[in-house]
Symmetry: C2
């Protein structure tokens, strides 16, 4: 592949998700500039040819397309709007893509500030977890300008296989939070159904086999259910990250004057998980609260 | 098919589900004796060769295998244990199968009383709704004696394609209620996610297309979600029946000292649906509460 025809890419945030995603871009032949708060987490990428930068600002100065996938909205705000942030370094005409699950209103605000500097910012959170990132099979929910979306689509296609532009800036975040809202109540239902089956003396795996293909069936029941039954609570997706997402969803639902009682109930349970120090268990370890009769 | 080698079947309860199920048995070549509280609902079956009986007792006297699928636990109790009930007429060695979604403890009690008269009673509630019944593709969750289960399996196979014996009497009911417990919270999550997406100004159908194959995906999101979006609230499964099932689940969870907060929350919402006279809407019409901001 002739790399001189491809835009230079910047990548900020090389955690479990980001590292896999950046690697796909590198392997597709793009020149890649990287920054991460902990430098050592970029070493595998640098061995593969990525170029280290000292700040988001420096990444932005080198790249035409800048991708971020970091922790919390406050980090997003700092990385985009801070003194050493992307907008301080980005050239006019460049495009930034925030793939963090973050606040929709913050996404809209950043896009607005950036537009004044002729920089397009898309919000493009993902679902599919570490395995989706590794296999380049993420779902990517995008909000923002459609011309910018078209320009970056080949880059997004290095990382995902189910990519949609859903509306103006913030729409990607709204769609991702919609996803998390559905999951929040569903995982409660899965915990409760399995706990009930076990308490009734049934073989919960046999029950799952019968009900898993019917009206109760779905990814949560069929993937997380067996993990609950076998006591495998390792984090594919950590409880503390899910709690962050639930918090964002509740915050933006409040902005809409929308009452979501299932989500509120899930938040109370997840808060109890954090109170018990289970932050870094998988989010499906909610089942342990039920096991302890503390739900 | 030589009908003389097949056991005579009794069928009590020929509502939407029962009528389709009984028709499959009739078409498989079994002699069929029928009873229903409203006689006119048996006319289609009688035209096809089913034989009318004046009471459950009379059905039981004619049949070797008696199937029931009726309304509420009090009806089940009456049809099995009443003066004109099945146990008053059943021959020793016959088998009754209650396919109503009913109380697990009642199922165990009926099986015990029946065993004293040398009648086996299985509990075998179904999932799959009117379409599953029509297409003989029901899931059937069975509790009771395994020898009796083996004897009736060919008859169950006329109606379903996913059939499992899950334990002693009551186990089928427990499994079905487990199914309903999972659905109760899941449908809340689906309502809340879709409402949130719409309120955020997104095209909810486009969002469903992206999230429906991922971690949020499942039968409720992918089948009921589009109905909510298009405003189709016709009953595949009626709200008042779902409320009955939720009540049974809560009652038996209480017997286990099990706290299921997601289920409790769903019950509060469904009770509000009944209070608004939406008994006979589809259970997914819960979405209308959210639309009215009354959730």
């Amino acid at each position: 592949m002739n790399t001189t025809t491809l835009p230079a890419i910047g990548f900020i945030g090389t955690g479990i998700m980001g590292k896999s995603m950046a690697l796909h871009i590198l392997k597709a032949g793009y020149r890649l500039y990287v920054f991460n708060r902990s430098k050592e987490k970029t070493s595998a990428l640098i061995e593969q040819g990525a170029l280290w930068c000292e700040s988001p600002k420096e990444v932005a100065a080198h790249a035409e397309i800048i991708i971020t996938i970091i922790g919390y909205p406050k980090d997003v705000e700092e990385v985009y709007l801070g003194a050493n942030g992307i907008l301080a370094g980005a050239k006019a005409g460049s495009i930034a893509i925030d793939m963090t699950t973050s606040s929709p209103t913050l996404a809209a605000r950043i896009a607005k500030v950036a537009a004044e500097r002729e920089v397009a910012v898309l919000d493009a959170p993902v679902s599919g977890g570490d395995i989706g990132a590794r296999d380049a099979r993420l779902s990517i929910m995008v909000g923002g300008d459609s011309a910018a979306f078209k320009r970056v689509l080949p880059v997004l296609e290095c990382m995902g296989n189910n990519i949609a532009l859903l509306g103006p800036a913030g729409s990607g975040q709204y769609a991702k939070l919609c996803n998390q809202i559905v999951i929040a109540s569903t995982i409660m239902g899965v915990c409760e159904g399995i706990r009930y089956a076990q308490e009734a003396g049934l073989d919960a795996s046999a029950v799952l086999k019968v009900i898993g293909s019917g009206a109760a069936g779905g990814t949560q029941l069929n993937v997380q259910g067996p993990r609950m039954i076998s006591g495998d609570f390792a984090p594919g997706f950590m409880a503390e990250h899910f709690v962050k997402d639930i918090g964002l969803a509740i915050e933006s639902a409040k902005e809409m004057n929308l009452h979501l009682p299932g989500l509120d109930q899930a938040q109370r349970l997840y808060q109890r998980m954090l109170d018990k120090g289970m932050n870094r268990d998988g989010y499906h370890a909610l089942y342990q609260l039920y096991l302890a009769n503390e739900a």
